[in-house]
Amino acid sequence: MRIELERRARASTAFAAISPLLALVLTLFFGGLMFWLMGKDPVATLHTFFIEPLFDVWSLHELVIKAAPLILIAVGLAICFRSNNWNIGAEGQFTMGAITGSILPVLMPEWHSPLLLPAMLIMGILGGALYAGVPALLKTRFNTNEILTSLMLVYIAQLFLDWLVRGPWRDPQGYNFPKTISFAPEAILPELLDSGRAHWAAVFAIVAAVALWFMMRFMLKGFEVSVLGQAERAGRFAGFSSKKMVWFALMLSGGLAGLAGISEVSGSIGHLQPSISPGYGFTAIIVAFLGRLNPIGIIASGLVLALTYLGGEAAQLSIGISDKVSRVFQGLLLFFVLSCDTLILYRIRLVFSGNKTEAGA
């Protein structure tokens, strides 16, 4: 007996809808299996991991704090992926946005003005966008593969940040800790509610998601993204330029990643330090795919992935397993999302070997 994938006559709408849910169920099942093999009670552990954080005001705030950068980056990536440009370096653009956005509060700590925060955010967006412009330039000029160049630029950005906070930008009164001075109050992104830490990045994320959803659904620019992503030649026939699209897609996703970076530093951390992200830029790739590259779907999937971060922390505290488990869950999820998506275009067929011998006669 062998298993074959048979192409469907048309894409299955049923599987397009249930594929992310199916992936979620499979992830939970195999995650539970992993806990069981580790000698833990799978049900209780999954409960700690995914349910408990939802019944606590503090952890709901944390959930929003972690979901905001994921959504912000993922909606940009979704547009980028839809246009058939593969920006894998959002983590680097996030880092670069955090650095450029921090120039004012770090180098001009005496400047107190209501304009400070908007200026920081704009500089963060520009930093991320320009950094994403590097792979765009390399792709349009030298036909390099943006997957490789954008990924490699991640490490450059991280090492650059590391050098800054250990070197020229180190806080002189910081007891030699690798960090910058703490931002002035005017440079801190305000909290949304009195009940907890969740800040304005969540609003940026929702606004970006809705705006990009509107663009993809109703605007000619969204149509251009889809056409060039699906058939570049047809895009040329429509008078769209695929080179300009490379720039647009990469700089849009880079800009949003940069905004997420400066928002995270300004809203959650309050200074620059060597590590400012638990891998948001990479996890956002999973968020984008789990949300079917649809900005509204990404709001939901961003919350789901944020939960894996929280659950990892919770599991580390109460059960004593490594928080690397959250990475395992993210990996499982991406794997199952991509494999379940196969079922949209293909059906699984079991071919029994008996059939074959008869045919050979």
Partner: protein, 532 residues
Amino acid sequence: MVSSQDQGEPSLLSVRGLTKLFGTFAACDGIDLDIAPGEIHALLGENGAGKSTLVKMLFGVLQPTAGQILWQGQPVSIASPGQARSLGIGMVFQHFSLFEALTVGENIALSLDPKISLSRISDEAASLSKTYGLPLDPKMHVADLSVGERQRIEIVRALLQNPKLIILDEPTSVLTPQEADRLFETLFKLKAEGRSVLYISHRLDEVQRICDRATVLRHGKVTGVCDPRQETPASLARMMVGSDVAAVHREDLGTPGEVLLDVRSISFAPRTPFAVSLKNVSLNVRAGEVLAIAGVAGNGQGELFDVLSGEYPVADHDAIKIRGTSVGHTRINGRRLLGAGFVPEERHGHAAVAQMPLSDNLLLARAHSDRKAFLSGGFAKVIRHGAVRNAAARICQAMDVRKSGDDPAAGSLSGGNLQKFIVGRELDRQPAVLIVNQPTWGVDAGAASRIRQALIDLAKSGSAVVVISQDLDEIFEVATSIAVISEGKLSDAYPAGTLSLERIGLLMGGIHDSTQNTSHEASKAGEAAHAH
């Protein structure tokens, strides 16, 4: 209908009640077919009639939903092309699967047992090609070969397996008349050896000329089995189409008006290693004229279209003029605003995006030229989906596009219906200049005659039309003047009445005898080709 062979000698291949369902749609519905040893059997039918599906089941690419295949009287189920080959069935597909960067011998070796040495394959291929009159050099690179030569590779590849039945899918659609004649000789040789040929075509004259029997399909069912020589083209077409095919009406188009499209000595270097360069191409088309550009595929037609459409602008701004305005640097949307319309050859992925609905595909070509109607919101360019959908529905009605549902994905339409939509999309705005590449390639007879009529009507209403086509019947139907493209060079244009089929065939082969320097250049090119 029962064929005479059933009583006498057994059939080589029989098919009984063969059915293939895609969902609930029956692509083939209870098909019976008998092929006797040593006959050339035609499979006739419009596009979407089920010919390809049937053949794919015979060659093991698709599995039948129901029904039986009998090979030399024994029931078989053919699970894969490999199994079909081992039974003795060979196939030459319409679209070749050859690696352009490899040599002829290497391409042939790829489809055979990897243990056989390349030199042995080359020797066998060379001797086979000599026996069957299919001259081929195993050491040549495929990229350097003409379409006809590439087809020979496929045929030789099939013959190396010593098949009893060879299936040919639309083999002459890419050949010059002379190349087709040579192919027919090969087929007669195969027949004389007792091999059978299943010949798929919608060219009635060829079928009448070479086939012993014909099975006609329509909507997945057999509508007739006949001896094509006893039939008239009209009676065969009736079986294929169901009703009489409307003859294209071409009254005198009147005297041509002003020059609407003027192209002066364009040269264009190839963009890819396998593209053709355009050499000093000039043409002009007046209002009311249909200029047909004949030529065998791969002689620069696609490149000429790219340059005329502005998808790839040319260096000299004054080299192309639309309605008197220089447009050499202008891109496709700028040319559309001047009143030009374009229909590329490739439907999927160039003229249309298969996954997108028809309304989006309308927007594809007209978002810029019709932005007042289709876009609102100023800078934001919000699409007025309602207006676009209405316009798409209007076009579908005007061109009789048959579709399922209101606004289906372009890819779900049959080739003919999608092509009617793509042509209708341009006609809907009454373009002053229309440039069409292979308007009826792979399109059924009904849709083809409708499209040709629409092109003639457009010219009659005062537009200039350029039709790039490989189909000589089509060219004689629509053209007021004819030019021939060969190796990126365009011949002078001749009034349609003054060119014979033979003369066009010679021009297609690259012999420009026209005037002065062209003949000189052609002979030089000929020498170069020989030296190669």
